[in-house]
């Protein structure tokens, strides 16, 4: 199983997903992120999915769940760099990812979080 690294930049955790997401790597990311949030007390999470070309309903739901988990630690999740095809797939699946915010790219995502932290 490939592991997704979590980077801490200031008060923000930065996760860049560069692999084809498998179910178990997403579950692992969820756990790692929760632990990291506790350890660092970060108030924002940026998940960059520029490189992700394929999502399914499970991964969509897990992304939303990451948002809900982060909220419990008083951190806001911003999903950045989603590809149009991925957005279309998620809407067709009926997932609107209510718990997470979205931004076009990492820079805009950081700016979204700036207001908070």
């Amino acid at each position: 199983m490939e592991r997704v690294p979590i980077l801490k930049i200031g008060p923000t955790l930065f996760v860049s997903i560069q692999i084809d997401l498998q179910d178990d790597s997403v579950l692992q990311l969820q756990e790692d992120l929760a632990e990291e949030l506790v350890a660092t007390g970060a108030h924002g999470v940026i998940i960059d999915i520029t490189a992700v070309e394929i999502v399914d309903s499970f991964i969509g739901r897990m992304l939303a769940m990451i948002g809900s988990i982060s909220r419990l630690f008083d951190a806001e999740t911003v999903l950045v760099g989603m590809r149009p095809a991925v957005a279309i797939t998620l809407t067709e699946l009926g997932l609107s990812l209510d718990g997470v915010r979205t931004a076009l790219n990492a820079e805009k995502g950081l700016r979204l979080l700036e207001g908070r932290t």
Binding site: R83, P84, T102
Partner: protein, 268 residues
């Protein structure tokens, strides 16, 4: 007598009388399609007759294929020149009359007649296929033409929709809009539905999907150009646009988008 040998005999007969057959055939064919001169018809048919003889005598393996290609070309060029498919088919069928006059109703003639029927129908088929092609090309270019994405301001794009929204078009609109949002780095999109004649639950559903997809990218969508009758329909159908901003005109939507981007337009 089997078909093969009668075909062979017919081929021999046609080869010997090629000039006479061609002359009579051209004459009849020219009479069938009034718009074309006798010489032009003769030039077209002479190639075809040569190929008919070649494919009937089985001497040349590639002859039947070439014959079909020549007929397809004839059918296409005639269609472009404005002939009806009936005229084209009739001019092929008139070969039967020409040969009948020379041979009488023999068994060889029957085989020949069957072949000509087949060829005549083939021109019809080609005509229909060419038409289908034109129609599908036009449908495609209409889809392309009817969904422009325009840049209104830095970070603000507009998608003026004209015509009925069905699932196929929504798909194209959605893809183009999302693509533009990403490439231009735009955070606001205005979907203008002034040109959409009716909004029913299905169209509304399509619009909502597009807005949702844009949100997932991190962009905000405004729907503008809702006319009074359409507002009435939307409310009577109980369609909820939820927290999606809707504006009466493109102007209002642009003002809203500018305001959200922290910009203001005032007198210079």
């Amino acid at each position: 007598m089997n078909i093969d040998s009668s075909q062979g005999q017919m081929a021999a007969f046609l080869r010997d009388n090629a000039d006479k057959v061609l002359a009579r055939w051209s004459e009849l064919a020219a009479a069938a399609s009034a718009a074309r001169s006798a010489e032009a018809v003769r030039a077209e048919l002479s190639d075809i007759l040569t190929l008919i003889i070649a494919s009937m005598s089985d001497a040349d393996e590639s002859a039947p294929g070439e014959l079909r290609a020549a007929l397809a070309e004839l059918s296409r060029s005639r269609a472009r020149a404005g002939s009806t498919p009936r005229e084209t088919a009739l001019s092929v069928f008139s070969a039967k009359d020409a040969v009948y006059e020379l041979t009488g109703g023999t068994a060889e003639y029957l085989a020949f007649s069957r072949m000509i029927d087949d060829l005549g129908l083939y021109t019809f088929e080609t005509y229909a296929a060419a038409r289908e092609q034109i129609i599908s090309d036009q449908t495609e270019s209409m889809l392309e033409l009817s969904t422009p994405v325009v840049r209104l301001w830095d970070g603000i794009i507009a998608v003026p929709l004209v015509g009925t929204l069905d699932s196929a078009r929504t798909q194209v609109v959605m893809e183009k809009m999302l693509e533009a949002l990403v490439t231009l780095g735009a955070e606001h999109a205005v979907i203008d539905i002034t040109g959409v004649p009716t909004v029913d639950t299905e169209v509304a559903q399509h619009l909502l999907k597009t807005v949702m997809a844009a949100r997932l990218l991190g962009a905000e969508c405004t729907i503008s150009g809702i006319r009074p009758q359409i507002a009435h329909t939307i409310v009577s159908l109980g369609i909820e646009f939820g927290d999606i901003a809707t504006k009466a005109t493109l102007r209002d939507a642009l003002a809203h988008a500018l305001q959200r981007s922290g910009l203001k337009v005032g007198p210079a």
